[in-house]
Symmetry: D2
Subunit: 338 residues, 4 copies
């Protein structure tokens, strides 16, 4: 059985997912495409040479009889509307992050999905599908380091553009750590604090960079994440989990070791797109396989919602300079992890 997919939004990430479903993954094909710019949608279909119908209206695409599942890869502020529409149609939907641009919007989706009575939504957090993070979680869950007590993490970009503002260190950058570290620990956050070290001279005037975000989880695990988006040297994701009996560290991306010019060296990636490229394939294949098997798994609407609440507290902590509490309702049994 081949899963028929409809894609809403044909920008960079949309095109990438269409290509993935059409030429790299197994068990799916893209049969319907929509974009606010209809010419763009037509061009993508034509360039990729796929047999997909272009819809002028996203809701029409969602409700099309031959569309089995939806990918939402449109502009962030439109996500909530399309995900809610998919839920109304009772169709599985994979939504790129953010699930919604506000915590309230995410909560609307959670409520709608719970009212529907069955999971339909997978949020596009890809790090839990990265082989390195999975190995790290396996080490923790396998008792290799005892109970986790602390995480030291870093999220570094070589540089960012003019549009990148101080709060985007949370909403665009840290958001991945918020998701993946919660998943890694099977825990959620109860407080956040942000520290601003001496600013790098490489950052633009309006941006505070680097930042250190301190998170506390419900079980008391303490997390420090260095967010440094003008670190110059590369795109570098670090994660070290300190447990009661040992420490586990996220693998560095595999690379050739060179001895050359008085240096023993391995390359560090520069483009963030290369870092989790394999995880995108795994993530979307997991969605396809799950839908074909009659269920939806992976990062849930609840995960999207709690990430949004946590990010809001971090942004508040950026502004207040204080420890900000994070208050979340208890996780409904509906969203219990598998």
């Amino acid at each position: 059985m081949t899963l028929n997919i409809g894609v809403i939004g044909t920008g960079a990430i949309g095109q990438d997912h269409i290509r993935r479903c059409s030429f790299a993954l197994s068990g799916a094909r893209v049969v319907a495409v929509n974009d606010i710019n209809q010419d763009q949608a037509k061009k993508v279909v034509s360039d990729l040479g796929i047999a997909a119908e272009v819809y002028a209206d996203a809701h029409e695409l969602i409700n099309a009889a031959n569309v089995d599942a939806i990918l939402v890869t449109s502009w962030g502020p439109s996500h909530e509307e399309f995900v809610l529409s998919a839920i109304r149609a009772g169709k599985p939907v994979f939504c790129e992050k953010p699930l919604a641009v506000t915590a309230a919007g995410c909560k609307n989706i959670v409520d709608a999905e719970m009212a529907f009575g069955k999971r339909l939504v997978q949020v596009g957090f890809m790090r839990p599908y990265d082989q390195g993070y999975r190995a790290l979680k396996a080490a923790i869950d396998g008792g290799r380091i005892g109970e986790p007590l602390m995480i030291h993490a870093a999220h570094r970009n070589a540089r960012v553009g003019q549009a990148y503002a101080t709060d985007m260190a949370i909403t665009d950058t840290l958001i991945h750590e918020i998701n993946v570290l919660g998943w890694l620990l099977d825990d959620h956050y109860v407080s956040a604090q942000v520290i601003f070290p001496r600013k790098t001279s490489k950052a633009l005037a309006h941006l505070k960079d680097p930042q250190i975000v301190l998170l506390e989880t419900a079980r008391g695990t303490r997390i420090d994440v260095e967010v440094f988006v003008n670190c110059q040297y590369g795109y570098d994701i670090q994660c070290e989990v300190v447990g009661e009996t040992g420490i586990a560290r996220l693998p560095e991306p595999s690379s050739v070791q060179l001895r050359s010019e008085a240096k023993l060296s391995n390359e560090i990636l520069v483009d963030w797109k290369d870092r989790f490229i394999a995880a995108y394939d795994v993530e979307l294949q997991a969605f396809i396989d799950a839908v074909v098997a009659g269920r939806v798994g992976g990062p849930s609407a609840w995960d999207g919602y709690t990430a949004a609440v946590t990010a809001d507290a971090c942004v508040a902590a950026q502004r207040s300079g204080k420890v900000e509490p994070i208050e979340l309702p208890e996780r409904p049994a509906f969203y219990a992890p598998a």
Copy 2:
């Protein structure tokens, strides 16, 4: 367009490739299956739940109208016959190693393919599809270490069974290095010597283990490969290329770094099947994509033939204790690398 594949041989590797084409790769499906044991073939089709016809006769399968391409994963001694049959049918054929059990058999295939006038055969050497070897080749080809002068390599297994004989260190084990190092250097071998170090007490009485194979290439690059199939500690593939200005080393498989019990450690794989698991997917996807695009690439019948000739010389060197010459006809332009 979906490529319709017929598979001859439904043992472990055959089943694995059927599963791969059906549920992991893009653009192909298995429509026909044959095995010398027809019940086995039926069981595999039924267990995997695929819609494939079971053929009693392999040649019939090869010539079936709806079969676009063939995978030969049957018993080694039958490979030559089926590959020649596929060439006669003018159909692309992916043949697991060995291409044929003798150099003469490989040569028959080379001759048949050249007579046909177009490449149809890809041999199942998977290492050139491994991400690590590809990165290593990119480093060499990119001039990062200058002209290669030497390779130090090792192929180690934790242990082997009773059936593993001294010459299998060449024909089953070293054969992968013969292929991949030739590809890495874009060169072929001109002599071989085998040295037997002090034997490990962990090897069975009939087996000489470890062995060191010394290969010389046409351009004078010298290769030493340690083959050690009872090394106890794991499955470990090492490859270090020494060039005029630097050295490049095959990446270790990515793994979590642990600090625990007074050790800073990374896991070493134990099961060889885990080491190149991703490469099998890439290899077969490359075959499918190439066939769909109207050409066949990857390891050629010529590569299969030269590997067989080289292996024969290594086995002769095991027996003679001397430096054995390797004589090969010049590579036909037909088989020039892409």
Copy 3:
């Protein structure tokens, strides 16, 4: 010229320094020894077979005509008295940490030394003499990572005994980081905060372990130090300096890399005494060489004083749970780094 040394205090560290001066270092000999337990002093002299006079009174030793320089390795609370006595005698004095048990006591020494008009005191902070930290400082000072913005550090012990209390995480453990990181950055601290993660089940009831200490320097560099004294796996000192253009990391102690039992591993030290063993030699040789050359260098009374003030603030932060300011007078020109 051989430097004649008098040693006050013949406990473990005193004996170690006597052995060092007598049998490992160049240019000095121990000619006088004192201990509150005179029998102990006699036994040490006799066991080591050195020709040193045993003094009943430490001040008499300090003032002995043939004693050129003093080592104070007695009980911490007696350090201040003996260092002040040495200053009065105008003799160079190497004092094991702490310089004094209170910041006020340290200040007394600073004042006395400045009144004397010339540096006489070196404090026994040995990490600046460690080859790894020196290489790290050379990398920073050589501009390899640009201006330092953050330091991530860890100080981990396998386990501690009953006597180790929560504030000793500062006064006995963090005190080394307080010294060496200030030296590394050529900067001093302006605030401290302490965070208590989930407590390890391996710590005794009265001890909070692990702790995370956050320090801020005058130039705005932010430091986080994980102090974890029941980490079980070993004695492990980590230090990573994040600069504007790169990151430099303290070398791991050199060790044999093993491939064994499915692991690629390096040993981690367990006993802290092994970690900086070479640094003690370098430190004391530097004191001897400097005194012979007519000057005293290395960690100064000022460094001892500022470490004490900083430690006091960290202990206050442990108790208050707040960010505690660290107020220090400006460094006198007298104590300008070389």
Copy 4:
């Protein structure tokens, strides 16, 4: 007790050892100095500011009443004469390599020393005093890898000058591996073969570079050593011992890990003098301590002799292209390792 040392030869290495004995090591002083160029000897004594008598005649120095032990650091061809003279005088003598410029000369020394009846000679092979090799030997002797079966080693220099000839790859370069690998394995060599890979374009016309030397030990352990003296990238010493159950690898020199300019890197040394600098101190201190304790240990005249015989066979193998046997008399009990 202070050991009074006489030094014959005040070139670079002689000056270095004089400085070491005078200002870095414990328990010795240089009281007598000789050089074929007496002005040079005087200048060294004066420059270093030591109280040493300058002798016009080396034998007079050897026999001087106040000289307890001799360092021979003169021109290689004079070593044999001076060592024999020291043995006649019954004085401990530390002789820089080579012990003698021919195997026969070494044998003369062995015979003289055995006739004297007590060990007096230590040869200046410093690698057994290197902390890394000692840790490697401890791992082997501690049973961490089982019985050694193979060693893969490399000795690489960035570049060599005009004077460096093909046989110096053995006599100046490989000689260190000949010594240290025999010590590591507690074994001696029975055959040698030399392979010449494709020559690097960076070597001068008269020099074959790189070379691979294959050695076989009495117990059947097989060793391959890559000697590559124009490798461009640095001075790099590698040694990997493959045992029945695991592999142990010589530590890389400790260095700061940098993340910078898209590279994760550690420095590789360029100057060979930096690589074993600490080992020279340990080696000479061991000689001093041993002499003071009334015995001589470390690399013996026998080790110097067997290294010379082995090197001769390697040079013969360079010329013949064949496997050359190495024939050694049995090691006398007199030279049994401690």
